[in-house]
Amino acid sequence: MSKNMPETIIHVENLSKLYKNNPVKNSGFNYTSTTFWALKDVNFHVMQGDIVNLSGDNGAGKSTLLKILSRITSPTFGKITGFGRINSLLEVGAGFHPELTGIENIYLNGAMLLMNKAQIKLTIDKICDFAGISKHIHVPVKRYSTGMYMRLAFSMAMHLESEILILDEILAVGDHSFQQKCLKKIKDINSKQGRTILMVDHNNKFPKNLYNKQIKLINGRIEL
């Protein structure tokens, strides 16, 4: 869609995140408090249309970074400047409300991405077809199997409007054929719609040539 010159869509400056272990959190009277830097002085930028592979060992800060980008939590220091709407799939499953049906969740999620009723309506069939859950669309999502849940979440992320897409460990579940379908779809929305994608691919399920940018985190710092 956008044929203009690529421009910076996310700019991260000196981003740090300190976690304080809340002394009363785990009840009882154990008041020892510990601190931990999940991210320390992280700097990078992402251009419009990039597919970024975010890698690093467990506890390197990948999820924290994506949570800050998705505005689920705030940084301790630093700043991010960005452009457009972000949709994220963090740790299997979008922001579903378990009591609501599949279709109600699609509307709710679309509304959170500032889409209007007509725009959402147009995507419903595509979402259900891709996820293969057309039969169960009027069932509360709490009755979905893990696979159905995951497929619906992924399909919604692909079809609902957003300029930036964040995918964290989304393919922990799902069979091989669905993974291939996802790979094709990711390439599709990137090349046809110019959407920027940041993803964590823990088990290297996708070919390396999918990405045009690599960001590796080691103990909360970027490895250059």
Partner: protein
């Protein structure tokens, strides 16, 4: 509507004093969707559905008529006891519903809040608006009872205070929302307060003129009871309907000011809490 080219910033401490309604405007469809969700989930998986909204106030009123009217013989300002109690109960119910629902906003919406961003304040705002439907149903019950008494010989005259009714409801909502937001922010880290709320609300009812008229209280107590905005709201409501009850513009204005201050504090506490509550739950 679509903010494709909207530039955004993520910083450690967003400006909490900048409460811009303009930023919420694009989310009005979400607001409508959340109200709809709230209303349908009220009676999902119940057999009687919205009937529960009638049963609860009716049972409470009957028990109040028996215990406070017949047993302890607390006066009701010359208003038939069922009308007296129900008029207080419906407002009190709306008030406590607002508090309870708003106070649990982080806990109840954890799956949503931990996955996707939208201005969090939309959630409690939509809940309080959705609760108006429940209030409306209970109000219609009250009006039915009022008409029934009218045809059975009870004479009453509405006065001009009835035009303040929308203001009374807005005031109730603002106060309930404000208290709820404060509690929601304070209970993220330390859940101790949760224990207080349940019986705190119960106790507060006895400091509100739900079961007794303000005119039946000792004079030196009245000023104290009138600090509670809900007392002034209920007294005004009864005054508007039956011309019985102690109210004046001064006590109404004080109720409005107290509610506005509490709502303001609630919003600020909520805005502080929402940025990284996920780290503390």
């Amino acid at each position: 509507m679509t903010r494709k080219n909207q530039i955004w910033n993520i910083t450690p401490r967003p400006a909490i004093f900048k409460i811009r309604l303009r930023n919420l405007c694009p989310y009005r469809y979400l607001f409508a969707k959340l109200i709809q969700r709230e209303i349908t989930s009220f009676y999902r998986q119940t057999l009687l559905g919205p009937l529960w909204f009638f049963i609860q106030p009716l049972l409470t009123t009957s028990i109040f008529v028996f215990t406070f009217g017949k047993l302890t013989k607390i006066p009701t300002d010359g208003i038939p006891p069922p009308l007296f109690y129900l008029s207080g109960i419906i407002i009190w119910n709306y008030f406590t519903d607002c508090i309870n629902k708003t106070a649990g906003v982080f806990k109840d919406n954890l799956p949503l809040f931990s996955k996707i961003y939208f201005p969090r304040i939309i959630m409690p705002l939509s809940t309080v608006t959705a609760l108006l439907m429940r209030f409306g149903i209970q109000l219609s019950l009250f009006i039915t009872l009022l008409i029934f008494y009218r045809f059975n010989g009870f004479r009453f005259h509405l006065n001009s205070y009835i035009f303040l009714f929308p203001l009374l409801i807005i005031n109730t909502a603002a106060l309930g929302l404000g208290i709820g937001l404060l509690i929601s922010a304070l209970t993220i880290k330390y859940r101790d307060l949760n224990f207080l709320i349940a019986f705190g609300i119960q106790l507060m009812m006895y400091a509100t003129t739900v079961i007794f008229p303000l005119s039946a209280t000792p004079k030196h107590f009245r000023k104290l009871l009138q600090i509670n905005p809900v007392t002034n709201i209920i007294e005004t409501f009864r005054y508007a309907l039956f011309s019985k009850g102690l109210t004046n513009l001064q006590s109404l204005i004080s109720a409005l000011i107290i509610s506005a201050v509490i709502l303001f504090c609630g919003i600020i506490a909520f805005k502080r809490a929402e940025t990284n509550f996920i780290d503390n739950v």
